[in-house]
Amino acid sequence: MSMELDVFVGNTMLLDEEVYKLWLDGYTVGDAVRLRLEGGVLQECEASEEVLHSDTMDQFRTFQMCERFLHCPSKLANQLLFQIPPHRQAMLIERYYMFDSGFARELLGKKLSKGTKKDLDDVSAKTGITLKSCRRQFDNFKRVFKAVEELKGPLVENIQHHFLLSDRLARDYAAVVFFANSRFETGKRKLQYLSFQDFAFCARQLISYWTVGSVDSMLEGMDVDLEKEFLHDLKDLKILITDKDMLDQHKSLVCAALRGKIKVFNEMEGNFKNLSRALVNIAVKLTHTKDVRDLFIDLVEKFIEPCRSDRWAVGDIRLFLTHYTSTAHKLDTFRHLVIWDRYMGVVKSCILKMYHD
């Protein structure tokens, strides 16, 4: 005695966003039914569990059949198999590509390789996201990465164009792609306090100011890679710390500007040379790929942690960095102002974003 076969097909695809979410979250039909029961669907419409089960099965099947179109979202609009109103198509795609920031945080900077995919069960255990959902999100990362890594032009627009995502989601993907490409270290314990959004913000800064595409917004620009020439030029900033006169002059200019304006003035004054050395050394080291990967850990270890131990407030940091950057213009012998501003602009906003508990 059993239902051998049970299908429902509508001329226009009938879907329940809630069920779609459960499917995306990787639940089995049984779990999904249970969750729907708990969610109280039956209260709004009298029905039995059996009905709910049948409905869930149907929808899960539909989503599964739809999945291959979702892998190439532009196909969804001109496939003939399912008739889906455009706003629903957009919803299906957006939700399919949406990812858990917890998951993305785990994967940030990792190589999107088979090896990483194999380790997804650890990620699943750590984040509490089902393995199935982890795999989908991983595959999405990889698919987007593959599609845009070789493409010219603005990264976000490329992603948007290929995957028909919302602006916001495309930006997040840009961050994921960017991190995966440059393989920034994000997994160290000291970096654990940073969220995906912190990194995504930093990625946007880097993409906007440090990549080839940022200088030359023409088509040949590549948003994925940092501009080699710029990184090379950063070596020239070394003069700021190697030239003792310049360092002293810089310090006095900053102190003059900040006197009475920040609470931690004394600590700043005492620590100025260390801080300046830290920031400039990070810049100088960026020529090496290995050190590029350590950018964030360096920022935390060399700058954020010392400040934090001296209990700097965010406002203090902002003022300090602002003046630290601007006073360099008053140094008589310092000529690398363009490079300096380009470097400090990004570092400043990254530090400000990363400076929290």
């Binding site: 239902m3 097909v9 099947r61 539909t62 455009p86």
Partner: protein, 1109 residues
């Protein structure tokens, strides 16, 4: 050589990867028609090839054009091995053969493979240059239009209805040919698909020839079916109604009443609205003429209907006196029983005495709804079944042919179709004689079906016996029952001037009406209920009463029909779907023994199904069934019966009595208690149902006699009927001893079971209605939400020794759960109505029961309904107005000065409303409608705004917001969905089993869609099991139908139906196969709002009530 077919292959997209090495495909296309094949170049290494081929030209007979499909095969070129087929597209070019349908087929078609399903798409262009062939002896029938729609297609008018056409062709099923053992499943499936396509083409052509012979130009209600008889072959048969249709010009869009959504049809007076076929029969009339003309009949008519309305309001409380205490021997039921018992006898008589009769002699009509005035009386359901043994084909020649071309039936195996013809002939004769016994000369809503299991075949036919207005029909169309002298008068009437013609339709003078065999013109809202048979010579015991609407003629206590409810019929409350479900076990047997066993069971099944229907009808407090469809399917060890119908309360018929339970052993006190408990339950259910379906028959006003307006034409018998019914009690009191109660005797456990099953039918959840007719009686304000769906369930009975009761319960639950599932799934559309719920049952294997449902969920505006309901309360007040105005008898003046009645015009479709509307000119009525439309549209704007803000909000919160929104999600969704389709690359194609789409007007019929697909798999598990397999297949079928319609330039399929869904599985071998046959009419529709935007004649303003976004 009267035709040149041209095809061009433009491009492909989303092709599957055929070369694993390169992940690409080297595709080319073969285009085949008849025996000619063309090829495109190979487009190397691409999944999106651009062939952009030359025009391939085929010079062919139009006969072939009709029979053959254009066959497009996409292949992958392989240098070293055989080319691999990717898939095929069959294009039926029939729509291009009619000048009024499509002119070009152009679009993306899914490339279909019977093993892999849809594999990419191909863009094709097809045209036909047709040369006129005036040869009288031609074999083709190009230009005859076919419609699946079972009413006169909107945007046409019927100049003449010629009558019944039928044809069948037979061939051997390729699946059972010896060759099948050595060829691949794919080749076998394709052979079958192609053969059936050829056979349907041929069938259509032959039917077309018959139509031309009769002088018609179209077939309406075309119903084509396949009988997969297995070893003994494949039968493709079709029936339809031949008509002469005339296209209504678009410019006169104001007039084409029939094109309006039914909501309109009902809201507005049928006569000023409809291009009365009568007028048309008297020569082409200009829209202007139609308009002027509309006054006179509506005048006379409205008077009648309002007067009858008066009667209604004055009639003493209904349900009394002579009310139908038909008991178990209810009228229609009896008829059927009688048919069963008599059939053997009659058959014998018929076959011996029968001279070979041409089909023309069957006064059958496959139509289910008719132009006003067409249907005069309805007698009741007539049906006939016969059990036949299929014999093997004894023709070795056939078995050996591999040819796809149809064999010429004239030269060989000639007796084969003859046999099948004779079988159907027999059944039709029986139907005809049943109709005659009911005093009817015609059968409407006629359909035929078969159920086959191994070598046993049940042939069934059913319809509704009716008396039709002879005016509409060609002479000789109705059988000799009607007085020949009467018929002979008709041509004279036709030739008469249009003026005369108009007035003849509803003759006012007594003698002319008498000449037509009608004692007196009956009001349209109740006329069809009046008995056609002689009161003194009733063919079965029935309780007749005077019509509760007009009080002039007799009506039965219940009315069963297979047709849709006439739009002009007066109903009280809303209708609902009623189903009787039944399983009967039978022993496994072979041959004659099996056939005998089945034919012995059939009468009992019919009886029980009818008892169930009757009980359920009473339980809902209703008195008529429309769209009755009884299906009996045969399996190896059981018979399954399913009867579906839409129950309504016809105002003209008496209030049904309740159900009274009577025990056989009254001595036992506990037993008595048990019975009275049950009685109470039943009474409660009836009361609840009455409330649910708003069945509160007009409170009959006592002061009849003191009525200030004695209708001059009322006769003394009217008063007699009053006095008869004066001794009534409160209608809800269904206590014992009531003589009109329907008595159920509990004499055994069976009966107890029956009662339980009666009470277990759960009503649809709040906000849902369901019916199996086109539209729901009592709902008129449809909005644009539309969702067509197909649902299939197969249940496995694992328990070998089941009892009949156990089986019944399982089957009952299966159907009930399926309905519940539908309600749940479609809950976002509330308030909505599931229309045209079409259930099909089958017993595909020993222990399997399969139920397939196709229906459409349509949203309607509940608020308006409630508003109207409230207005209904003011009815008495309004009635007074109408009555007073009635007295003045200045209808013309009323037409211009009746604003007082306007506010009431959108009220429910009671006779009252009709009368009100008949007076108000459409223009006046529109004031009310459009203001409503304004309010509505501003509300829509509001919803839309909300919807947008919701979408703009953060994605995470979307769902919760939407949930929190007070608007039903489905509503806003449906509104949004209509908004921005333009941006999509794929044209939206709506599908519906109904003949219309609410809020729209069909502006063109593009041709019939009749498609047959086979899908097979040898990797069932990998495709998600049987459910996954069938789910994908049904979705693919929908996709292919949509693609074909879009390629014809259409945007909808109406009258869509899934005729066949044969599913077979072999899970052990990981295999499954499914055959699906679908049909419908491809159309172009326009939203009424769009139509209005174009300069429209003033009258269109009355369509403002429709909500379109």
């Amino acid at each position: 050589m009267p035709g040149k077919l041209k095809a061009k292959i433009v491009a492909g997209r989303h092709l599957p990867v055929m070369d694993r090495a390169s992940d690409l495909t080297d595709a080319f296309v073969e285009v085949k028609f008849g025996n000619t094949t063309f090829k495109t170049d190979v487009y190397p290494k691409s999944l999106n090839p651009q062939w952009n081929s030359e025009w391939f030209k085929f010079e062919v007979d139009d006969e072939d054009l009709q029979d053959e499909p254009l066959q497009i095969t996409v292949l992958d070129h392989d240098t070293y091995s055989a080319n691999d087929a990717i898939g095929k597209v069959y294009i039926d070019i029939d729509p291009l053969l009619s000048s009024e349908a499509a002119t070009v087929i152009s679009g993306w078609f899914p490339i279909y493979d019977t093993i892999h399903g849809i594999r990419g798409e191909i863009n094709v262009l097809v045209k036909v240059d047709l040369f006129n062939d005036l040869n009288r002896f031609r074999q083709s029938s190009c230009g005859v239009k076919f419609f699946c729609t079972t009413s006169i297609p909107r945007c046409y008018r019927a100049a003449m209805v010629h009558g019944f056409v039928e044809e069948l062709v037979v061939n051997e099923d390729p699946e059972y040919q010896w060759i099948d053992r050595i060829r691949t499943p794919r080749a076998s499936n394709e052979a079958r698909q192609r053969l059936i396509s050829l056979m349907s083409g041929e069938l259509q052509r032959k039917i077309g020839l018959k139509v031309l012979e009769m002088g018609g130009n179209a077939v309406v209600g075309y119903l084509q079916c396949f009988d997969l008889e297995g070893e003994s072959g494949l039968v493709v048969r079709a029936i339809g109604t031949a008509c002469t249709l005339e296209k209504l010009s678009n410019s006169s869009a104001a007039a084409p009443p029939a094109c309006n959504s039914p909501s309109k049809d009902i809201k507005e007076p049928p006569f000023s609205e409809d291009p009365n076929p009568n007028t048309h029969s008297s020569g082409p009339s200009t829209p202007l003429k139609t308009q002027t003309y509309s006054f006179s009949p509506s005048k006379s008519y409205s008077r009648q209907s309002s007067s009858s309305d008066t009667d209604l309001s004055l009639t003493p409380k209904t349900g009394m006196g002579s009310g139908g205490s038909a008991g178990k021997e209810g009228g229609p039921l009896k008829t059927l029983l009688r048919q069963q018992t008599q059939s053997a006898l009659e058959q014998r008589g018929a076959s011996s005495s029968r001279i070979f009769v041409r089909t023309r002699e069957f006064p059958f009509f496959t139509l289910t709804s008719f132009p006003p005035g067409f249907l005069i009386h309805v007698g009741g359901v007539v049906s006939a079944r016969s059990v036949k043994l299929l014999d093997r084909i004894h023709n070795p020649a056939l078995g050996n042919t591999r040819s796809y071309k149809l064999l010429d039936w004239n030269s060989f195996a000639a007796d084969e179709p003859e046999t099948r013809d004779a079988w159907w002939e027999e059944i039709r004769q029986e139907i005809k004689s049943h109709a005659r016994a009911l005093g009817c000369h015609a059968v409407v809503g006629y359909s035929e079906s078969t159920s086959i299991c191994e070598e046993v075949c049940i042939l069934s036919a059913s319809g509704t016996a009716a008396v039709l207005h002879p005016k509409f029909m060609q002479e000789g169309c109705l059988d000799g029952y009607s007085d020949p002298s009467r018929l002979s008068r008709q041509p004279a009437t036709f030739s008469a001037g249009s003026e005369k013609g108009e007035f003849d339709i509803f003759p006012q003078s007594k003698d002319s009406s008498a000449a037509l065999g009608l004692e007196e013109p009956s009001p349209p809202s109740c006329g069809f209920c009046h008995i056609p048979y002689d009161e003194l010579n009733i063919p079965f015991p029935a309780h007749l009463t005077y019509c509760y609407h007009c009080r002039r003629q007799k009506v039965p206590d219940v009315l069963f029909t297979t047709i849709d409810m006439p739009a002009e019929a007066a109903v009280t409350g809303k209708g609902c779907l009623i189903q009787a479900r039944l399983c009967r076990l039978k022993k496994k047997a072979q041959g004659e023994v099996n056939a005998t066993a089945i034919s012995n069971l059939l009468p009992f099944m019919e009886y029980e199904l009818h008892t169930q229907l009757m009980n359920k009808l009473k339980l809902r407090g209703m008195n008529a069934l429309f769209g009755l469809r009884i299906q009996i399917s045969v399996g190896e060890n059981m018979l399954v019966g399913l009867a579906s119908a839409t129950a309504v309360y016809l105002t003209a018929l008496p209030t049904p009595g309740g159900i009274q339970i009577a025990g056989k052993t009254p001595s036992d006190i506990t037993y008595e208690q048990h019975i009275s408990n049950m009685q109470k339950k039943i009474n409660d259910t009836i009361a609840k149902n009455k409330e649910l379906y708003e069945v509160n028959p007009p409170e009959v006003i006592e002061e009849v006699i003191g009525s200030p307006i004695p209708e001059p034409r009322q006769r003394s018998r009217l008063f007699r009927s009053h006095s008869e019914s004066s001794d009534e009690v409160s209608e809800l009191d269904l206590s014992h001893g009531k003589k009109d109660a329907f008595v159920l005797e509990i004499d055994d456990t069976d009966a107890v079971e029956d009662i339980h099953s009666l009470l277990t039918d759960t009503p649809a959840p709040a906000g849902f209605y369901s019916c199996n007719t086109e539209i729901m009686p009592g709902i008129y304000n449809w909005t644009s939400g539309l969702q067509m769906f197909t649902s299939v369930r197969v249940f496995r009975l694992s328990n070998a020794n089941l009892t009949n009761q156990g089986l019944n319960k399982i089957f009952n639950d299966l159907c009930e759960n399926l309905l519940k599932s539908l309600y749940f799934k479609l809950r976002s559309m509330i308030p909505c109505c599931l229309c045209h719920l079409n259930f099909t049952v089958a017993v595909p294997e020993d222990e399997l029961i399969q139920v397939a449902v196709t229906a459409v969920a349509m949203t309607f505006d509940k608020d308006q309904a409630q508003e109207n309901w409230k207005l209904g309360a003011d009815k008495t007040h309004m009635k007074a107005i109408v009555e007073n105005e009635e007295q003045l008898q200045f209808p013309l003046e009323l037409c211009t000065e009746s604003p007082s009645t306007n506010p009431f015009s959108p009220c429910r479709g009671t006779g009252l409303q009709e009368s009100a509307n008949a007076h108000a000119t459409p223009r006046a009525a529109s004031v009310d409608y459009s203001s409503f439309a304004d309010r509505w549209s501003s509300w829509i704007e509001l919803i839309r705004l909300k919807a947008q803000t919701i979408r703009r909000g953060s994605i995470k919160t979307t769902s919760s917001l939407e949930k929190a929104s007070p608007l039903p999600e489905g509503r806003s969704r449906s509104l949004r969905s209509t908004r921005s389709y333009a941006g999509s690359t794929v044209a939206v194609v709506k599908m519906t089993p109904l003949s219309f789409i609410p809020g729209t007007r069909i502006i063109k019929y593009l041709g019939i869609i009749n498609m047959f697909f086979i899908r097979e798999t040898t990797s069932l598990r990998e495709e998600g099991g049987v459910s996954g397999f069938l789910h994908a297949f049904i979705a693919e079928v929908f996709a292919m139908v949509r693609a074909h319609v879009a390629a014809l330039g259409g945007n909808a399929v109406v009258s869509y139906s899934m005729k066949e869904c044969v599913f077979m599985e072999n899970p052990n071998k990981n295999q499954a196969q499914c055959l699906i046959n679908v049909s419908g009419d491809a159309v172009i529709f326009m939203r009424e709002s769009e139509l209005e935007a174009t300069p429209a004649p003033p009258q269109t303003s009355c369509s403002g009530g429709e909500v379109t976004t």
